[in-house]
């Protein structure tokens, strides 16, 4: 059913994940090309976040394989996948609350981007990333003092600090205003222009359709469609999954 993509950056093959008797993912195959803007959509409970958790290493799959740059990462701990370049942001921002915004970026810089750098360089790099995302003036604040949109930006900036090859953005825009959604979209477009492959999981259709070059639709743990945004909008199976009969 799926066409294997030669030279895929991320190749998820026949991935299965069960929670007790419930099959959250059933033989899901997804291939993402280098440099691609990839959309992953599906109704609530369709398995998007489970898939992302398996790819990032937060969950262990019960079957199937995950290859990153041709390398099998299926059983690899999450922090090692991050070092290889698979970096995710969280749906509900999870900042390091006892640290300043700047120090938040220091962790991935030190642990993932370049293990064991001296503090000075890391601080410069972190400031540079904050400037690029528009959080420079908040560098010395604790995350508790940030607004919702700033918190999302921190989440993305911190992910960028890990120097991702593949960024998985898990609902980075949920709950934001229309202007804020555009703001985040622009940031993701810029990241993609820098050569970072991006998987976007999103419920805001306007954003996914505008952003993605290719979209895969999950429903009840299986892949029901794949195609360009135009093809997806016209796909009857997708309509049925979202709206019912």
């Amino acid at each position: 059913m799926s066409v294997p993509v030669a030279g895929a950056l991320l190749a998820v093959d026949g991935l299965t994940k069960r929670f007790g008797g419930f099959t959250a993912l059933d033989q899901v195959t997804v291939h993402v090309k280098p440099g691609e803007r990839f959309g992953l959509i599906g109704p609530n409970g369709s398995g998007k976040t489970t898939l992302i958790n398996c790819v990032s290493g937060a969950l262990r799959a019960d079957g199937g394989r995950i290859l990153f740059e041709g390398r099998d990462v299926t059983g690899m701990p999450a922090h090692r996948r991050t070092r290889l370049g698979i970096v995710r942001s969280f749906q509900i921002p999870k900042p390091f609350t006892s640290m300043t915004v700047l120090e938040n970026l220091g962790i991935p810089l030190e642990y993932a981007a370049h293990a064991r750098t001296r503090g000075g360089d890391a601080a410069d790099e972190a400031l540079e990333l904050l400037r690029a995302i528009g959080l420079e003036s908040k560098a010395r604040l604790k995350p508790a003092g940030l607004t919702q949109i700033e918190m999302r930006k921190l989440e993305l900036a911190r992910a960028m600090a890990a120097r991702p090859k593949l960024l998985i953005s898990d609902e980075a825009m949920a709950g934001l205003s229309s202007a804020e959604v555009d703001d985040i979209l622009a940031i993701l477009f810029r990241m993609n222009e820098q050569g970072i492959t991006i998987i976007m999981i999103e419920h805001i259709m306007r954003a996914v359709m505008r952003f993605s070059e290719r979209i895969v639709v999950l429903d009840a743990g299986t892949r029901i469609a794949e195609g360009t945004p135009d093809e997806i909008v016209r796909n009857p199976a997708v309509e049925k999954a979202y709206l019912g009969e």
Binding site: R83, F90, F96, I107, A113
Partner: protein, 307 residues
């Protein structure tokens, strides 16, 4: 440079006090305060830096003490061997509870460590070789230095307190400390940002266990009579937690301040009022701090300076 200076300062202070040859009781009481510096500092590496609250301090402390008793009884091992061995055995126990963190977080981890203490105490009560329930009496040889055990043990504890503080300070200021704070704030996010959370937790539990064991190893020489109830005293669990909380858990100096203040207050109260008053003091002070200064004296000082 910094940690070396701190160590030298502590050592110099200790040696000065030791050389003054004041009332021997001062050394006897000072030993307890120093022991609490080691315990509070060790506890804080796991509880403060990594955020895993260990209620099982008595288990680690007593394991150090009973390792020493076993080695004395079986091999007549000298004090330095007892200290190193006590530390190593407790470090292994620490590594064990480190693996518990794979499954248990927050309150559940704390409950498990409390249970650990109970289980270990039951085992020791039923092990006659180290005295079992009736306890173990240590017959001390004449002291190799100073001519006086109180002074000798006091000096040894000065060195161990300095070592513990230097190690804690090093961890706090290194990449290890930054990784531990990240996982304390949010373990899932830390792992996803490249922090090897399991390895860091195992490191923290092991090094914390080591120093708790080190603190317990000279205990038989100090009291000369050890019974399970005194080695597994709940006081150790409460003080190990209360002292860093009072001083401040995020920096190495916090546990030291807490141990000196609370440890000294307890010693003074024991002599002037009653030995039963100890826990009451700890309780009252702890409640006060948890409510009014949750970041301890260090946090309070920072707030007053407006940082």
């Amino acid at each position: 440079m910094g940690p070396v200076l701190v160590a030298l300062a502590v050592l110099a202070g200790g040696i000065l006090l030791a050389s003054l040859r004041v009332n021997p009781y001062i050394y006897f009481a000072g030993y307890v305060v120093l022991q609490y510096i080691v315990i509070a500092t060790a506890w804080n590496i796991l509880g403060g830096y990594a955020g895993y609250v260990n209620f099982g301090t008595p288990a680690f402390f007593a394991l150090g003490a009973y390792t020493a008793i076993f080695l004395m009884e079986a091999y007549k091992a000298p004090l330095p061997v007892l200290i190193v061995a006590g530390g190593l055995v407790s470090a292994v126990l620490g590594l064990g509870i480190g693996y518990l963190t794979l499954r248990l977080r927050g309150t559940f981890f704390s409950i498990a460590t409390l249970a650990l203490s109970v289980v270990l105490q039951t085992l020791i009560i039923n092990w006659d070789f180290v005295g079992g329930a009736k306890g173990f009496t240590v017959i001390r040889p004449s002291p190799p230095f100073f001519g006086n055990w109180a002074l000798l043990l006091f000096t040894v504890m000065v060195g161990m307190a300095a070592a513990a503080v230097v190690v804690a300070r090093f961890i706090e200021r290194s990449w290890i400390g930054r990784g531990l704070s990240a996982l304390r704030d949010n373990e899932e996010a830390a792992e996803c940002m490249g922090v090897p959370t399991l390895r860091l937790k195992l490191f923290a539990t092991t090094i914390s266990g080591f120093f708790l064991g080190v603190a317990g190893a000279p205990f038989p020489y100090y009291v000369t009579y050890v019974e399970p109830a005194s080695a597994f005293d709940l006081n150790y669990a409460v003080n190990a937690l209360a002292m860093p909380m009072i001083g401040g858990t995020t920096t190495w100096i916090g546990p030291v301040i807490g141990a000196v203040l609370l440890g000294t207050a307890q010693q003074v109260a024991t002599v002037t009022i009653s030995s039963e008053l100890n826990l009451l003091i700890v309780g009252v002070v702890l409640v006060f701090f948890v409510v009014l200064a949750p970041e301890g004296l260090v946090g309070l000082a920072r707030r007053l300076r407006g940082r």
